[in-house]
Symmetry: C2
Subunit: 332 residues, 2 copies
Amino acid sequence: MKLATLKNGTRDGQLVVVSCDLSRAVAVEGIAPTLQYALENWASVSHHLTLIYDDLNIVEDIGSVLRFDAKLCAAPLPRAYQWLDGSAYVNHVELVRKSRGVEMPESFWTDPLMYQGASDVMLGACDDVVLPDVKHGIDFEAEIAVITDDVPMGVSVADAAKHIKLVMLVNDVSLRYLAMTEMAKGFGFVQSKPATAFSPVAVSPEALGKYWKDGRVHLPLVTEYNGSEFGRPHAGMDMVFDFPTLVAHAAKTRFLTAGTIIGSGTVSNKDRSVGSSCIVEKRTLEKLDSGESTTPFMAFGDRVKIEMLDEHGVSIFGAIDQKIVPYMPRHC
Amino acid sequence: MKLATLKNGTRDGQLVVVSCDLSRAVAVEGIAPTLQYALENWASVSHHLTLIYDDLNIVEDIGSVLRFDAKLCAAPLPRAYQWLDGSAYVNHVELVRKSRGVEMPESFWTDPLMYQGASDVMLGACDDVVLPDVKHGIDFEAEIAVITDDVPMGVSVADAAKHIKLVMLVNDVSLRYLAMTEMAKGFGFVQSKPATAFSPVAVSPEALGKYWKDGRVHLPLVTEYNGSEFGRPHAGMDMVFDFPTLVAHAAKTRFLTAGTIIGSGTVSNKDRSVGSSCIVEKRTLEKLDSGESTTPFMAFGDRVKIEMLDEHGVSIFGAIDQKIVPYMPRHC
């Protein structure tokens, strides 16, 4: 099934079921007014939502069907109780460390990196990225994330897989110069990770079909930067920790509430010909190759588009398509 | 005004207004069913809640008044969209670093440390602390935290003060041996910071009266460990960053949603005679004094009690009073 949240003036928006081809949608307030509600009551509502999804894909007219428009979408969870982002493509971590002249500990291949991110404001796929200062080193990060239902503490990797209910794409907006200062403190990212954006549509593992295997999504993740292709690394390759492993890592010492979002970190392949999913990795490769990073970080007006197409070229999650704009404080 | 959330089988509990002396409470579902709702609609509901608080303190019978029992309380926000914990008592940070033989950067006196904590499960004041393994180095941390309404990006320190709506006590449960590994990674705390507990009652700055000044709470914070006093540092002393400064730090590059909780970090005074608010600080002082830490971390069955009394010995927030118990996974 495919689900999205339409903006409706409330903080949590309105849940809709979206057709497989992303052309049509239907509101389901009688079953679940919001995605958070659906996740909290997954056992009783998911079957109903799946039936509507199946109908929507077959029948032309099933009542009050809307034309689906990604521009009207909030993030599938416009605010969430938890957003934990891993760094499962260890190749990326190793590269970035190397360019900084820092050896990566061997343990990073066996013990996942993960940070607790801000989840109180999530951006819709086409929302502007509003930021105060280009001097902070604005970057995108193209990623994949899953949403869980309630997960027990100490869950096994095998059981963790059963708690993955939905999959999304992510633009994990990062402020690189602030991140350097914050990493040195050891307390993780606060100022350097502003609001994160998500694909218009969240897709169940079942609806991903053969592309969901071994707890990974097996398709390239395509990033376009100002209209040109920036990277298309394959999300199923070089992902050292699969999603169930990331979920189990997060739940080692605590319960996870329904609606917990867990990210893969920047998708990255060892094969350099496929490009990168963030500017900092490209700058790293430039530095390693020529001694100097030449690609600048983002400027106001720059655009990033993140999308995943199936083998027939059909968009699975819809596109994240955002512009960076300056923050204009209102004094009132 | 004083507010609490009673457990009622739902994820967000039921909001009640509590009398100044914590003896009585009244449900206010007609005004605000939950504290999250109240914070989202503060401008329209806070006046009504204050009127009820005033009545409750004067009149003996104002309708369906309940006997207030801290044991029936969830955390004031049983789940929140954001929990950011500072480390404003820099004395504590400097001490702990010193015992590890690490110099503290001078910038720590001017640029607050802050981490993004898990907010999807918050513990009630008398809830057991359920943890999987004593070998993780279980510790308490007695702190103070504030709750904000919606805060704009880039808020000034002066304006940030106006967004502080409520104040609480905190037990920031920490797993010290896991924290060492996680700090070395630079990504902050995930496994080493399990669910956090809060005082039964959240109190408005107005109701704190003269004890709320300069963005700080001016009273000692008393920690009892297994029935003996462990520390009573003064929360108004040695707090290098006041709460408005912590809120402004958090909002530098993003908006904060109503219901954001921001913590002070472990309360700590330079005056060692007042004791400590966490075991790791006591162990640090032992190591600096004698070369060896002798106080062990917590064991299953140990209890911690955190409370703040006014000058007349009256509890302001009620007591956090918790037992550490082993996690028994249910296989179902």
